[in-house]
């Protein structure tokens, strides 16, 4: 929705903001109300990047709103600072810096812990503002006398006083805020933020430092909050102490959910509804204090029945009316295209990422004495394992042999109890899964770990970005199209896993076999030199297996692979050497022929059944 024609949304926003003073007075909106809505909307832009896009629900935004507001107001009223815009920006920076420090603490945990910690933060800031810092903040009196902005342009000076005059200034700030937020959301960082909301585990595994990106989103939200807080003071000519209350955070959360999260404009819509209803219920219907109860009930009903809020609901409605026909046509087209695609020759194999130190020629992976204990249970015991460059190794073993645990240790998802893992001559024991992926070692999961809310193309984009940009980079204002080689790499991976025709389909609509191929594609898009595949054939139909074996053969060219699978026929066909695990130990290694002929392997798989039958 947010990436149609370039600048369409920016242009519509500008038109809307210019038209507002001409239209809204006729609808009974006072300029002051409109200005307040814009301040909430600006506040919400950052919050929506944090909550709607990254999935981090913070109840502590009032802390940054208040910080920015009071820093700006203090500069303008007590410190004799004359430049309003400058003060607002300094307030914003102060809020962002505070956000960075608080983020370091709050982001130590995720989910409900994060929500609880942010609630506590909001409360602490409120008390600090009231008590220890009351000399600076005016305590419960707030800071009166905040001036409005004026600009001296040399030949003339513009002074934004109040009402619609001040609206021009606030609307301009909001517009700049929207433009920046849209840039961020469409940047590689924005894409990764959505991936974090969708599946943080996989975002980490494909090589993104998600903690860094979460902190980025947190700081962005704090910066927006700080600027909006400053504007609140300018708007009211007074910095009210209640900017810091927990209710402020709560109202922001509710407005965002009412308007629609993940839309950027949701908070603005939510604030409009909120302030309109507040006025309407209080005065027109004479409900008095009950207005908040009505809003609370509306909010609960929206959360229950309309998850996407008002904007989400309208978008669904639009899709329902206009989309049905289109979709059927598209599906027919697609089936025909799929039939055609199978006739095309397979695409060229994909290059693995360049070797860091080409001189190295030993085994690509060498594990020694690898052991993993869970309490008394030994999952892997003293495994020695070595794979040469370019090899295609198979691993088999009965259920519970410790194959998946072994893979998890190799990719550093879990730390071994003892032992050492060396990748291309470098000790990677104890590194993080993100770093290991960046070095060129990753795996596809036994159970699909996809970004289910995104399309196929977006999924592969996330993975490819990790390789092209490294684990953390703050290119907030670059477009996805501006990332060199991204389009090619995604297109190539799509072709390799035969999903080109499904590129813009949401993952949730894929068939199982397609999801399995995408799972492999996600690992592949990071261009690993060593690719681990955990049961890539699991749950596939015989025909899908044949196709996937073909796919595996084609990607094996130019890279080393280790495959776990229970499908012996396929594995013996693919692998040059096979290692058999049993009860957490290496039973035997050898060529497929040797393994087939090995008595111990037969014993392990048949579990001594012969003996029992004989007895």
């Amino acid at each position: 929705m947010l990436k149609q024609r370039p600048f369409l949304i920016e242009a519509l926003t500008a038109i809307g903001l210019i038209a507002a003073p001409l239209v809204l007075p006729h609808l009974g909106f006072a300029p002051n109300t409109v200005n307040r809505i814009l301040v909430w909307g600006l506040f919400g832009l950052g919050f929506d990047i944090l909550f709607g896009f990254t999935g981090l629900l913070s109840f502590g935004q009032s802390a940054f709103y208040g910080t920015g507001g009071f820093v700006a107001a203090y500069l303008l009223t007590r410190a004799g600072f004359g430049n309003v815009l400058g003060a607002l920006i300094i307030g914003m920076i102060a809020a962002a810096a505070t956000g960075y420090l608080i983020g370091l603490i709050a982001l130590r945990r995720t989910g409900i812990y994060f929500a609880m910690i942010t609630v506590a933060i909001a409360e602490v800031f409120f008390f600090v503002e009231f008590n220890p810092l009351s000399d600076f903040t005016g305590g419960e009196n707030g800071l009166p006398g905040v001036p409005t902005p004026s600009f001296d342009l040399g030949f003339t000076s513009i002074h934004f006083t109040n009402g619609w005059s001040l609206y021009q200034f606030i609307a301009l700030c909001y517009f700049v805020g929207v433009v920046i937020a849209l840039r961020i959301v469409r940047s590689p960082v924005g894409a990764i933020l959505s991936a974090i909301r969708d599946n943080p585990l996989r975002a980490t595994a494909v090589g993104h430092n998600i903690h860094g990106y979460k902190l980025t989103a947190f700081v962005i939200a704090a910066a927006y909050a700080g600027f909006a807080g400053g504007l609140l003071g300018v708007l009211q000519a007074f910095m009210p102490p209640d900017a810091f209350t927990f209710d402020t955070s709560g109202q922001l959360v509710m407005q965002t959910a009412i308007g629609g999260r993940g839309t950027l404009f949701g908070p603005l819509v939510g604030a409009t509804v909120w302030l309109f209803l507040q006025d309407f219920l209080q005065s027109a219907l004479g409900l008095g204090a009950a207005w908040k109860l009505v809003l609370g009930v509306v909010f609960v009903l929206l959360v229950c029945f309309l998850r996407g809020g008002i904007i989400g609901g309208l978008a669904d409605l639009y899709r329902l009316v206009s989309g049905k026909r289109k979709r059927m046509d598209a599906e027919m087209e697609q089936e025909a295209a799929d039939a055609e695609a199978t006739l095309q020759p397979p695409p060229a194999p994909m290059q693995a990422k360049e070797v860091a130190h080409p001189a190295y020629s030993g085994p690509i992976l060498k594990a020694t004495g690898l052991t993993k204990r869970y309490g008394g249970l030994v999952a892997n015991s003293d495994i020695d394992f070595s794979v040469n460059q370019g090899e295609l190794r198979g691993i088999i073993g009965p259920n519970g042999a410790g194959k998946s645990t072994f893979f998890k240790m190799l990719t550093c998802e879990i730390a071994p109890s003892s032992g050492q893992i060396v990748f291309e001559g470098r000790d990677i024991t104890g590194l993080k899964v993100t770093e290991v992926c960046q070095l060129g070692l990753t795996k596809s999961y036994q159970v699909n770990q996809l970004f289910t809310g995104l399309t196929v193309r977006e999924n592969l984009t996330i993975a490819a970005l990790a390789e092209l940009r490294g684990k953390f980079r703050l290119d907030l204002f670059r477009t996805l199209a501006g990332v060199k080689g991204l389009t090619e790499q995604v297109a190539h991976t799509l072709a390799l896993v035969n999903l080109t025709r499904r590129a813009d389909t949401p993952v949730s609509e894929l068939a199982y076999g397609e999801k399995r191929r995408l799972e492999i594609g996600l690992a592949l898009a990071t261009s690993p030199r060593l690719l681990l595949l955990d049961e890539p054939l699991a749950g596939m139909s015989p025909r899908e297996r044949l196709e996937t074996v073909k796919l595996l053969k084609s990607i094996a060219r130019g890279r080393t692979m280790i495959i776990i699978d229970h499908d012996m026929d396929s594995l013996f066909e693919l692998a040059e050497r096979v290692t058999v695990l049993q009860e957490g130990r290496v039973l035997v290694s050898g060529t497929p022929e040797e393994i087939k002929a090995n008595a111990a392997v037969q014993e392990a798989y048949l579990g001594g059944v012969h003996g029992e039958i004989a007895a």
């Binding site: 999935g55 603490i105 609880m116 910690i117 008590n131 220890p132 927990f246 509710m254």
Partner: protein
């Protein structure tokens, strides 16, 4: 300003507050541990317990009946809330659960404000515990001492339910692994309903027991909710012993800091929480894995 009697009396205050926080937090933490839902309306449950008890007291003039009526009312409210709304959120993301319980909390607070107005209401302590007790080295309000005893009994009862009954066994097993409990053929949904009721009742009970110490206002649960969060983060989510330990720590921090400067009470509380998060991210008695 800082004298020994003063300090001791603040330590007692901290104990009373801590015991209350422990009880409320236990309710929050067993609900979260079992159902996986963080109930942001938990503070409202505390508040409603106070008001329900207040109404019962108006009619019966009996404090004991008020406590019973208040607790039962909140338990029923909890059961109702679980059946009608929360049940539909088990398979939705955490954010949605937070949003809906947050909204419900606001509805409860505003409803109470509508009925009882924002003015504070008073519930007198029971005749038995009125006045001041001479502890030998200082005088201390009798009812506050009684609060510690009453809450200790309630925590004991909760302990027995959790650790000595079949239901408790299921709840504790559910905290460890609710999928496993489900697949053992136990109707988890019924257990969830009961747990939500018990958890809410813990808060409601605390609300009415606390009512004579403070005066009732519709917003009384908001601060308590925040303190409860800190308790749970310090103690460890899903841990009953953690809630008690965290409650006592938080109560003492708030009381002792208030003796010097009430403005810093939350700062110190937050500092303690930060320390725990840095040193033991899963809480003092929390188990790794539950997130």
């Amino acid at each position: 300003m800082i004298s020994w009697p003063n300090l001791v009396s603040q330590l007692f205050n901290g104990l009373a507050l801590g015991a209350l926080l422990a009880l409320i937090s236990s309710g929050l933490t067993i609900i979260y541990g079992t159902l996986g839902v963080l109930n942001l309306a938990h503070g409202a449950m505390f508040m409603i317990g106070g008001y329900a008890g207040f109404v019962a007291y108006q009619y019966t003039e009996s404090f004991i009946l008020a406590v019973i009526a208040g607790s039962l009312f909140v338990m029923l409210l909890g059961v109702l809330m679980e059946r009608v709304i929360i049940r539909h959120f088990y398979h939705r993301p955490h954010e949605d659960q937070l949003l809906v319980t947050f909204g419900l909390g606001i509805c409860f607070v505003e409803l109470v404000r509508l009925i009882f107005s924002s003015q504070s209401q008073l519930v007198p302590p029971p005749a038995l515990f009125q006045g001041i007790t001479n502890l030998g080295f200082m005088f201390y309000p009798t009812y506050r001492l009684a609060v510690v005893g009453i809450v200790a009994v309630a925590l004991g009862a909760l302990f027995i339910v959790l650790y000595r009954t079949r239901l408790g066994m299921i709840v504790r097993a559910g905290i460890e692994d609710s999928v496993m409990v489900d697949s053992l053929g136990i109707n988890v949904y019924r257990v969830f309903m009961v747990v939500f009721g018990i958890g809410a009742m813990a808060a409601g009970f605390a609300g009415i027991v606390n009512a004579p110490v403070v005066s009732l206002t519709p917003g009384i649960g908001d601060d308590i909710l925040v303190q409860t969060f800190v308790v749970v983060v310090i103690g460890g989510v899903g841990s009953f012993p953690g809630a008690i330990l965290g409650g006592l720590i938080a109560g003492e921090i708030i009381s002792v800091t208030s003796m010097f400067n009430p403005g810093y009470a939350y700062v110190m509380l937050f500092a303690a929480m930060t320390l725990v998060l840095v040193v033991r991210p899963h809480g003092l008695l929390g188990v790794q894995g539950r997130e």
